[in-house]
């Protein structure tokens, strides 16, 4: 079974802190994603990576950056956390196979609270 593991289930950080959210997948997937989930807003894509060191902005990249130094690991960085970044963060991975794209596999989520 594909496993996507997020390093923390719950985090509490102070305003202005630099925050790292880590995600590791064990199925050699090329694609990795970071989403933010807020009530009534569904999932919004923050950043997407389709290969090592490659990244692409999603719909809401402001205030975030990412790092993908190894294929299995995709990190989300909040450079200076703010209270409006309090949210559930979901990591996902998928693999394009030829002309078909497969479904995404999700981690358990990290609920981040910025105080």
């Amino acid at each position: 079974d594909v496993k996507v593991t997020q390093s923390s289930r719950y985090l509490v950080k102070r305003t202005g802190e630099k925050v790292f959210l880590e995600c590791v997948q064990d199925m050699d997937h090329e694609n990795m994603f970071w989403y933010r989930q807020d009530p009534g807003l569904g999932l919004r894509l923050i950043y997407f990576s389709y290969d090592v060191k490659m990244k692409e902005k999603g719909d809401i990249p402001e205030g975030y950056s990412v790092s993908r130094e190894k294929k299995e690991r995709f990190s989300l960085i909040l450079e200076s956390a703010s209270t409006n970044q309090t949210s559930m963060y979901l990591c996902a991975s998928s693999s394009p196979r030829g002309w078909r794209n497969t479904e995404a596999f999700f981690g358990q989520g990290t609920r981040l609270t910025v105080v």
Binding site: G40, G42, L43, G58, S95, F106, Q108, G109
Partner: protein, 114 residues
């Protein structure tokens, strides 16, 4: 760009009743379609997917969905729900050529009452 609309934000039903969760999408090109389920305090997991072929697809836990190209819909159905089906359900679309990036609907909360 593609978009996804889930027509109901909340669907309350009684146990053993049928349920339909509605999803419409818009796209100028062909898409793949997915339904995911999220149980409380968990990530999303795949219920079912439409890639090609038969327009009626069956998924886990007795769910099924029908792809209707003319109406650009992909509604999720279950003939008899259980308490354990209480969860949030997300419809998602991926363009054939969009490297796996999906656009998600806002979600439908299904609450099954005894």
């Amino acid at each position: 760009a593609q978009s996804v609309t889930q027509l109901d934000s909340q669907v309350p039903v009684f146990e053993e009743a049928p349920v339909e969760l509605r999803c419409n999408y818009s796209s100028s090109v062909s898409v793949y379609l997915f339904w995911y389920v999220q149980y409380p305090n968990q990530g999303l997991q795949l219920l079912l997917k439409y890639l090609s072929g038969s327009t009626l697809v069956k998924g886990i836990n007795g769910f099924e969905a029908e792809f209707n190209k003319s109406q650009t819909s992909f509604h999720l159905r279950k003939p008899s729900v259980h308490i354990s089906d209480t969860a949030e359900y997300f419809c998602a679309v991926t363009l054939f050529t969009n490297a796996g990036k999906s656009t998600f609907g806002d979600g439908t909360t299904l609450t099954v009452k005894p």
